[in-house]
Symmetry: C2
Subunit: 458 residues, 2 copies
């Protein structure tokens, strides 16, 4: 009799784990069943804004692997539209609801992989359940946005929230000719970036014709007689619209685990050890639903990101398959392309550094991304955050017209190994006029940060 692995959630983390486990253990040794409440497996949620904008034509392009492929190539039994509604770790079973008919069944497991992802934070606003108020979390959500665009041809849309997904959706809809208003609580867009890096972002958004209302609270959503949204009311104004997109963030979906007594952390993510095992025997977790160790902050955090989900799922699957792998944590690296800007970060921002108890010393430099004389040299603003006294690199942020995404990776690689900014001054980075000035902005910023650390030492 083979062992049975049940996977809860059929996206990146769950299916990576299933695939890796299968590579190491044949079907006669390990039966794998994956339950997914939605209609798709292993897709790129990050691609949804590009699909909505029409930059990506076909929904299926966003799907890395379909259920049939898992079944045929890997003998993984994927059941779509099946929601796991309860876990019983004592009994070693899950209760699964078939969303087609509402019928429920118990299934025993030997190993359980929890990969339930993140869920959107829906602020408790009156009217938020109205038709035409949509999240963009799943491929199904993306389809609903496209259906609404096709059916209602909205002239005006409001995006609630000015984080990555909100701004990407705002840009996508502006490109479709829709009048877009972004309303957000924060004092600036993209609050994951330090305040001094945020100015250019607001400028670029307004330059694209996006109306931006910051420091406002959404107090209500207005609904027409047909149940469809007609406007968003904030503490400041009323914004009539025919579509609302919620970009109000997500939280780890650890609810199912918590209800079953599986330990979760402060942000609601499932606790795991280095090998992605939860504290409960036979129960594993990976991806957005987990707590993840932040290597610079040295504490658990919650980050919903496909790369992390893939990596953790792979680690869990290797271990489930009898191998040995550990997940070494994250740096909080993130990048997006919005309104012609590359906006990137890794490690801790200045305020984040203070929040976890470091005293930061910072330096910000403006540079070009190519030799100054080379055509189309663009600008880049690079901020480096270091620890006072030690000079330890704590983080970096880049807002640029080009070349920010991969430059942040250079900082990420440095941070990964825990470097001092003074050890960055002479790193042998590549140079040619089409790609960087003779002193790359990364090196200039590191040098200025080291100057600042030295000046602080006095």
């Amino acid at each position: 009799m083979p062992e049975r692995l049940i996977v809860v959630g059929g996206d990146a983390a769950g299916m990576s784990a299933a695939s890796q486990a299968r590579r190491r253990r044949g079907a006669d040794d390990l039966e794998i069943v994956a339950f997914e409440r939605g209609s798709f497996t292993a897709y790129s949620a990050c691609g949804i804004p590009y699909w909505v904008a029409g930059v990506v034509d076909d929904r299926d392009d966003l799907i890395a692997r379909r259920p049939e492929e898992f079944r045929e190539k890997q003998d993984i039994d994927v059941r779509l539209r099946h929601e796991v509604v309860g876990i019983d770790p004592q009994d070693g079973s899950v209760t699964v609801r078939d969303l087609a008919d509402g019928g429920e069944q118990r299934h025993g497991y030997d190993q359980l992989m929890i990969a339930t992802g993140a869920i959107p934070v829906r602020p408790p606003i009156e009217g938020i359940e109205a038709d035409g108020v949509l999240g963009v979390q799943t491929l199904g959500d993306g389809q609903r946005v496209l259906d609404a665009l096709a059916a209602r041809q909205p002239r005006r849309a409001v995006v609630v929230g000015a984080g990555y997904i909100g701004l990407e959706m705002a840009e996508a809809m502006v490109q479709l000719g829709i009048e877009v208003t972004v309303v957000a609580r924060g004092l600036r867009p993209m609050e994951t970036m330090d305040a001094d890096m945020g100015e250019r972002i607001a400028d670029a958004m307004r330059g694209m014709g996006i109306e931006l209302h910051l420091d406002v609270e959404v107090t209500g959503i207005e609904v027409g007689s047909d149940g469809w949204v007609t406007g968003v009311v904030t503490s400041e104004a009323e914004h009539p619209c025919e579509l609302v997109v919620l970009g109000t963030g997500t939280r780890p979906n650890g609810d199912l685990a918590a209800e079953a007594g599986i330990p979760t952390g402060a942000q609601g993510g499932v606790e795991t050890d280095q090998r992605q095992r939860s504290p409960v025997a036979g129960v594993w977790a990976a991806g957005d639903c987990t707590q993840v160790f932040h290597r610079v902050a040295r504490r658990p955090t919650a980050i919903a990101l496909g790369t992390i989900a893939n990596k953790q799922g792979r680690v869990a699957g290797i271990n489930l398959g009898g191998g040995y792998a550990t997940f070494p944590g994250v740096l909080g690296t993130a990048v997006t392309k919005i309104c012609g800007l590359e906006i990137a970060r890794t490690g801790l921002g200045e305020d984040e550094a203070r929040e976890v108890g470091f005293e930061p010393v910072c330096a910000t430099v403006a540079s070009t991304t190519r030799a100054h004389y080379y055509p189309d040299a663009a600008w880049a603003t690079v901020k480096v955050v270091a620890e006072r006294e030690s000079g330890r690199l704590l983080g970096a942020q880049i807002v640029s017209e080009e070349g920010g995404a991969k430059r942040i990776d250079v900082f990420a690689m440095a941070l990964w190994q825990g470097i001092m900014v003074q050890d960055l001054l002479n790193v042998d980075l590549s140079y040619a006029p089409p790609f960087s000035p003779v002193w790359d902005p990364v090196l200039i910023a590191a040098r200025k940060a080291w100057d600042a650390v030295e000046a602080d030492r006095g």
Copy 2:
């Protein structure tokens, strides 16, 4: 009486050193005189091919700082067209020839900075001194190429050598409508890349219309009755032409130092310690004329590159100014853009690794540079070289349509700190569909390299 610093050579290394020294010591404490045999200071030799191609309009754009600026802003006495022809370390003096009138003078120094750069390797071929046979080492050389193009309107040009500068010049001239033939000894273009990475380069060159003759020896250069070149003869064919560009490499210009008994290494570069001091008291050296420590090969090497010259010059200048700085060595990082390709390397190639006694294990992967569904996703081939048994990263090479230059820097940063490929598998690199697939090519290549190391262990 102030001390006197004499700088031999007014380009990146020499003038960086002079500037840094001046920042720390005023004119009443340190007199600085720089002798430059050419007509320009502190320019970007790397920009010459772009200037020839007309991508950069103005020669002055390539000059970072003119002599007047050094004089007026920093009280550095720069004398152009003055060649230092002898050093007498016992006496503490140099002999300087004024190229305007041939007159020679001795000048005493307290500190001497040797920054004489690299000199082109001119193979001993009959006719190589003919008019129209030009190097592209200095800004003056670049001017001579442009003058020859204007005066002779050549229809056909031959480039001897298929390294960085040769290929960049070949492309520049093709863009001007000239028929270009590249002849080279090697079996492939760009021999600084491993053989398996070179195929695409030859294809791209031929695709642009460059005629490529490899594995041939130049046996003679034909000269017309007016003294101007009329053709290049190789072991294989004769190539009529009206212009010859030499891209036959360079060597450190340590001749002046060697004649004065200042120790030089196997490739001819001046020996220095960590602080850029030569073994002779009061004599310093920096830039292309020096030996430089290769951190992965763990031995001295010679690399002519503006970034290194700037860094070493800065280090020397800080020390000359009474500060403390050391130069930590290089990785052999290099990048170029040729015929639509980004060609990049860092650390050791497979053959280079063997040459210095490592046993390498390699992995090469083909990937896209963006999410596969994102428009204009391009290809990248990434090769990782690791040490067998240990898994230590030894080097990486990338040939790609885009995104290679900064990705090589991610490897460079990893190499800088001496990492094992197994520690690269889960690095938290940035991800968004416009910039990378969910598993960045860097991570995929590292994983395959680790698989290869494990397989080799057996």
